[in-house]
């Protein structure tokens, strides 16, 4: 026993995670075979299907919550990689280029590294508060993702008070920042926590007030309904009916996410790392992920409220009609008969050869094998593109997801470019900007919108 215990204690944290996983992986096939042979597994599956069928709503909620929770981590990885690469290009650097092609794995490996680091609690901290703070911050970030509609029929929860829920939960994050700042027993952390509280509470007000105009236009607080109200072309988006609110919302969202130029909460040149100064390992990782999840969520909310959510900016059918192109995305492989066999057998090799040929002919220093590999990669790209186009035209939720992600990641890129180019504002300028400019402008926007609605509606009555 002591031998096992000693070996166990010598493992790194990553090993302590990976070793049980390996054991489970080895035991799983054995268990499956035994379970199937004894008839236990079929019985269990039948029972599960019965129970799940009886509680479809709860199952859907739990499934959505799990999927969205798991969705946040890769999203954060993608945004972190995007930021590293984009800021590198702004800085005239190459950025990460060693981990995977173009360094695409760098942020993932950073995440794993953070996971394997020592979980360190410094002397003098308030241990329970110190431990809970990252959890609160991360929860505040990911719980809001439940109400965001990704595509038609693809959302966690359709609430009538979706927006209210969003702002209520988003406000929870600031409690976590305060907890981190106060419990760390460090003056930089304290200053960072207080800055976070002051800034985020100030910017919640313009953020919420800017949305009031949209709520008045849409007549609902359900994010799904708000997206449906913006259906049609790009001109129906609320960004064009509420331009002032759009600008105010985006600026306030920047401050809410704690991004440059409003990143005073973790201003590294002033207060080291703000509230995160004393954190290390995965506890710091939670703060770090929460920031990027926040960026994604606020971009998604901006896209949902002002840029039409998952609505396409133009109707594809109208464009195709105008170009007099008819595309029938329905596929019936059986109609090809024997042709199908020839297509499957001869199509891929011929296309690969066709795509490899120009490289082989034009690049005299490339070997034939190298040209073939490039041709094969190009063939895959072409096939993926064709499948993508087919899926886009056949399933509305694929088209919706595509446009939603395009809009959201465009806004994320805007956040990143702002970080690469702008210096940071000062705390008094930050507060003055919120209270002297954004809040009055948001109030003006509300009154103008209300007056416009009154005039237009009375005209139609």
């Amino acid at each position: 026993m002591t031998v096992i215990g000693r070996s166990w204690s010598r493992l790194t944290p990553a090993g302590k995670v990976l070793l049980p996983l390996l054991a489970v992986l080895l035991a799983l096939p054995v268990l499956l075979v035994v379970g199937w042979a004894t008839g236990f597994l079929p019985w269990l599956i039948g029972l599960l299907a019965q129970v799940l069928g009886a509680n479809a709503d709860i199952v859907r909620f739990l499934l959505a919550a799990t999927v969205l929770l798991l969705f946040t981590v890769p999203t954060a990885f993608v945004i972190i990689f995007m930021e590293m690469k984009l800021i590198a290009f702004i800085n005239l650097r190459l950025g990460p280029n060693r981990q995977g092609p173009w360094g695409v794995l760098s942020s993932t490996l950073h995440g794993l590294k953070v996971l394997a680091k020592e979980d360190f609690t410094p002397t003098g901290v308030d241990v329970p508060v110190f431990t809970l703070a990252p959890v609160v911050v991360y929860l505040g970030a990911i719980m809001t993702i439940m109400v965001i509609p990704f595509a038609p029929g693809l959302f966690g929860l359709d609430m009538d008070i979706g927006l209210l829920y969003f702002f209520a939960i988003a406000g929870m994050g600031v409690i976590g920042l305060m907890m981190a700042g106060w419990s760390s027993f460090n003056k930089y952390s304290l200053l960072g926590g207080l800055r976070a509280a002051a800034a985020i509470i100030s910017y919640e007000i313009p953020l919420t007030l800017a949305v009031v105009g949209v709520i008045m236009l849409a007549g609902t607080m359900s994010l799904n309904q708000i997206v449906l109200q913006q259906a049609g072309s790009a001109l129906d988006w609320y960004a064009f009916q509420q331009p002032l609110a759009f600008v105010i919302f985006f600026i306030a969202a920047t401050a809410e996410a704690g991004r440059t130029p409003f990143d005073l909460t973790e201003a590294d040149s002033e207060i080291v790392a703000g509230f995160a100064t004393e954190y290390s390992g995965m506890r710091f990782g939670f703060f770090f992920f929460a920031e990027y999840v926040n960026v994604f969520i606020l971009s998604a909310l901006t896209a949902t409220l002002f840029l039409g959510g998952w609505n396409a900016p133009f109707d594809l059918a109208i464009v195709l009609n105008a170009l007099s192109v008819t595309v029938d995305p329905t596929i019936d492989p059986g109609s090809l008969g024997m042709g199908l066999l020839w297509l499957v057998l001869l199509g891929p090799p011929l296309v690969v050869l066709l795509l490899a040929l120009p490289f082989w002919m034009l690049k005299s220093d490339w070997s034939f094998i190298k040209s073939l590999v490039v041709g094969f990669i190009l063939f895959n790209v072409v096939v993926m593109a064709l499948i993508g186009i087919w899926a886009y035209m056949s399933f509305p939720f694929v088209a919706g997801l595509f446009w939603f992600l395009v809009k959201t990641f465009s806004l994320v890129a805007l956040f990143v470019i702002m970080r690469g180019t702008l210096p940071r504002v000062r705390i008094d300028q930050l507060m003055g900007f919120a209270w002297k400019w954004l809040i009055p402008a948001a109030l003006v926007n509300i009154f103008v919108t209300a007056a416009a609605i009154l005039v237009i509606r009375s005209g139609t009555d």
């Binding site: 800021i87 002397t123 200053l191 002033e270 080291v272 702008l422 210096p423 940071r424």
Partner: protein, 407 residues
């Protein structure tokens, strides 16, 4: 924070808790106050606290430590603590001969060491009453101006970085790296060149250096203009730096400020014009001056000076004479007894030296006046009343190099 005792884990035995006064976390020195000023500084009023900027802090320049007494975010008072980089360079110089002093003085101004290594060289030449070959003088001016541009390019990046801008520092380093590689082709070193010699320079211009210089010069002005666009009209940057760290011309003169800090207050003092040395009288250039005296004026002034330096390099290359690069001096150099004062214009201001020789081959005394040290004393006038975030902008705009401050 109050001085109530707190229990912390013992450093000797982590299993037991010991009582410690909370003041150890307050940067209060563990000894009784030595001066009246110290007693006044560490007597905190209600609601005030002490916060350490440095010596380990992401944005301190070198290892400067500033203890700030803050009320909320506003700086009430500050206490700079120097000496973390003290090496006793002046004493070390006395123990070697005059040639050793060149490489010993190199790390004083480690961002622009072409200037600090010139100190013993110029002092010895003045004591010897030595005529330096004209080609060597032109090469020196070329190196000085290149090094000035490298240093100024970094200044802009540091100022922006301390204000939260991530990009200008890399543009600055891109310029600096090209210049430093260029000088490495000439001198063999990237940072501490050890290139100037008593009576000339160590090596003649070579093809590698000249081709790098030509390539860089062909697009230097365009790139500098391009980089200016990022911050010059940036509203956030202007609001952060305009009216910040203002010092009047009168006070600047009286507290011995020099360099861009002094010229930003409207005083057109530049050693290259005021007390000409080397071949500067033969070159045409302006002394850029601004009158505001704030951080923004200092920022703009650095770009103006970069442009002037590029103009000087153009003239130097056009006028570069042929001839020897070293005067004839004996291998065992005995400097005649006497005292000599020399001054040059470094990127940070007047870099001067008072050399005393007793007739041996070693300097009897080499007193070095570093502009960073005198510029740094302006923080006491500039910082109180500002916010914590501004202390960084002020510090960066004074651009101290701790190697020279602590010596």
């Amino acid at each position: 924070m109050s001085a109530e005792p707190t229990t912390i884990r013992s450093l000797d035995d982590p299993t037991i808790m010991v009582e410690t006064p909370a003041t150890i976390y307050d940067a209060i020195p563990p000894y009784p106050a030595r001066t009246e000023r110290e007693a006044e500084f560490y007597a905190l009023r209600d609601g005030e606290m002490l916060i350490n900027l440095g010596p380990q802090h992401p944005s301190t320049h070198g290892v400067l430590r500033v203890v700030l007494r803050i009320d909320g975010e506003r700086v009430v008072d500050l206490d700079p603590v120097l000496g973390y980089l003290h090496r006793g360079v002046e004493k070390i110089c006395e123990n070697g001969d005059w040639h050793h002093a060149i490489s010993n003085c190199d790390p004083l101004e480690y961002i622009a060491s072409m200037f600090s290594e010139a100190m013993p060289v110029l002092a010895a030449e003045k004591l010897l009453d030595l005529e330096v070959p004209r080609r060597a003088d032109y090469i020196r001016v070329l190196c000085w101006e290149l090094n000035r541009i490298a240093s100024h390019a970094l200044f802009v990046g540091w100022l922006a970085l301390d204000l939260g801008g991530l990009t200008p520092i890399l543009y600055g380093f891109a310029e600096r790296d090209e210049i430093v590689e260029m000088l490495a082709a000439l001198t063999g070193q990237r940072l501490l060149f050890n290139y100037l010699r008593i009576g000339g320079v160590n090596g003649d211009l070579n093809h590698d250096f000249m081709s790098r210089l030509g390539e860089w010069m062909s697009r230097a002005l365009v790139r500098i203009e391009e980089q200016q666009k990022l911050l010059n009209q940036n509203e956030i940057f202007i609001r952060r730096t305009k009216g910040l760290g203002v010092v009047s011309a009168d006070i600047a003169r009286r507290t011995l400020l020099s360099g861009p800090v002094l010229r930003a207050t409207g005083v057109p003092f530049d050693v290259r014009r005021a007390h000409p040395y080397s071949v500067y009288p033969e070159l045409e250039f302006d002394i850029p001056v601004r009158s505001e005296g704030d951080s923004y004026a200092r920022y703009l002034l650095h770009y103006d000076e970069i442009k002037q330096s590029i103009g000087i390099i153009d003239q130097v290359l056009a006028k570069m004479p042929d001839g020897p690069i070293m005067a004839k001096i004996p291998r065992l150099l005995r400097i005649p007894p006497g005292r000599a004062y020399v001054a040059i214009e470094s990127p940070r201001g007047q870099y001067s030296c008072y050399g005393v020789s007793d007739g041996s081959d070693q300097p009897f005394r080499l007193r070095i006046h570093d502009p960073s040290f005198f510029n740094l004393q302006a923080v006491g006038m500039m910082m109180p009343g500002n916010l914590v975030a501004d202390t960084m902008a002020i510090m960066a705009s004074l651009d101290p190099i701790m190697g020279g401050v602590d010596k």
